[in-house]
């Protein structure tokens, strides 16, 4: 009968602890938010399912290829984590190729001032960076990986954490995506607090038509310029601009569709599931997690305020005033943050149509956080 005991010993039931049980519930909450509340379903549903799978014991799904000898447990997620993220770190650049092929830079080109809002809104990164250092718990590389949450950009957070603090990759990525899903609750109070009713009612002239030549020249020159200044941002910036050039050139429709559909969807499935599988009980139930949760919120809040206040300051010097509500969209979290600016604007004054204007800082914020990540890597990375 010892085989029977052997078998019973090999079941998950005998090996599961309370921590894992709780984490499975956390995973199911993510699934509920994604499915029933429609909060960032493309991220939170696979992340939630990844959390559930990771906390079911003895599955062998998380075994990293390096540990095993000879035959490998079919550690599907261990393999994707190792080669996709911690060792080669090629999934975030591949996702940026697809996002670039979906991005329209016209709002930025028609209203270049908004680029500054994209920069200002990254200030949240450094507030959280200092907060993390202040706790005395985190070293410089870990503080950077926590700060980047304020960049409100999933792939950039994953890209940086994979290089500077792989053990924090799951936590920082999931917190970044969760706050992006909750940005509709975080930003509006701050937006109303820091702007006057009159400011919120400012109507902006419809953006000018942007020519095809401009939409081609911008990503090309931006790619060369940014990478010359911050070479370590190349894996993200280069792929983003390449995807954008595929789209704007109109000469390679099949490549554009492959990048923005097949490649993006397949990469999203495996990346998000794998991110979820990083949230094992012992990693999550630590004091650090609470700290990072708090610091992440601070980062988002300060980023939002940074964008709003900078927009108000710019208005002091501008003849044609901009509605400061578009400043909060500078954090990126594309396209939710831009929609929120638009929505709050319409609440104050139905005739304001801020969406195209808010997309400017929204997209600029993606470049902003990728550049900051490049700086962190060049100064703190193994480089």
């Amino acid at each position: 009968m010892d085989e029977l005991l052997d078998f019973l010993g090999s079941t998950g039931l005998s090996a599961i602890g309370p921590g894992e049980g709780l984490m499975i519930l956390v995973g199911l909450v993510f699934v509920y938010l994604a499915v029933a509340r429609d909060m960032e379903p493309y991220e939170l549903l696979p992340i939630g399912l990844g959390v559930v799978v990771a906390n079911l014991p003895l599955t062998g799904l998380l075994v990293s290829p390096v540990d095993g000898t000879g035959f490998q447990e079919s550690g599907v997620f261990g393999i994707i984590f190792h080669y996709g993220l911690s060792f080669w770190n090629i999934l975030p650049p591949i996702i940026f190729l697809g996002l670039g092929a979906l991005t329209d830079f016209s709002p930025v080109i028609s209203n270049p001032k908004t680029l500054l809002l994209g920069a200002a809104a990254q200030v949240g990164i450094f507030v959280a960076f200092w907060g993390a250092l202040a706790t005395g718990v985190f070293e410089l590389p870990e503080a950077a990986s926590i700060g980047i949450i304020g960049g409100a950009d999933g792939p950039t957070t994953i890209f940086l954490s994979a290089q500077l603090a792989p053990e924090l990759l799951g936590i920082t990525a999931v917190i970044a995506y969760s706050y992006m899903a909750a940005v509709a609750f975080i930003q509006p109070p701050l937006m109303k607090l820091f702007t006057t009713k009159k400011e919120r009612e400012i109507e902006m002239a419809p953006p000018r038509e942007v020519s095809r030549l401009e939409k081609l020249l911008f990503p090309t020159i931006a790619m060369v310029a940014i990478i010359l200044i911050v070479p370590r941002s190349a894996p993200l910036i280069a792929m983003f601009m390449i995807g954008n050039l595929f789209r704007e050139s109109g000469a390679v429709p099949r490549l554009t569709s492959a990048a923005s559909n097949e490649i993006l969807n397949i990469a999203t499935i495996f990346l998000m599931l794998t991110i979820g599988t990083q949230l094992t009980a012992e990693r999550v139930f630590q004091l650090d997690t609470l700290l990072i949760l708090g610091l992440g919120l601070v980062a988002f809040a300060c980023g939002t305020m940074g964008g709003l206040l900078f927009a108000k300051t710019m208005n002091l010097f501008l003849k044609e005033k901009i509605n400061p509500l578009i400043g909060s969209a500078g954090v990126s979290a594309v396209p939710m943050a831009a929609r929120i600016s638009h929505h709050i604007g319409q609440q104050s004054n139905p005739r304001t149509f801020l969406l195209p204007h808010a997309m400017g800082p929204n997209v600029a914020g993606v470049i902003g956080s990728a550049v900051v990540a490049g700086v962190f890597i060049s100064l703190l990375g193994a480089g």
Binding site: P112, L115, A119, F218, V230, S378, L380
Partner: protein, 91 residues
Amino acid sequence: MADPDALILTAIGIGIAFGVLVLLLVTVLIIRLISWAINKFTGDDETQSQLTEIQIEPEALSENRDRARAAAIAVTALIETQPHLSRRDQD
């Protein structure tokens, strides 16, 4: 890379972030100038691309797909003009 003091790192970080995006702002203005200049010379908006003289597409593949898409969109116009077309089998 010696462990830089956090302050320096923040200064460089914010400085470079703003620096790069200001540079992009200037780039956009230059591009607007170039685009305006080119339009003035070529007299019209930069056309897509002179189609090379040889343009016969033997493969029916892509045509078929475009034709199907165009037809489908045309039909929406059709339905809007004849609202009585009830949609019986919405699968």
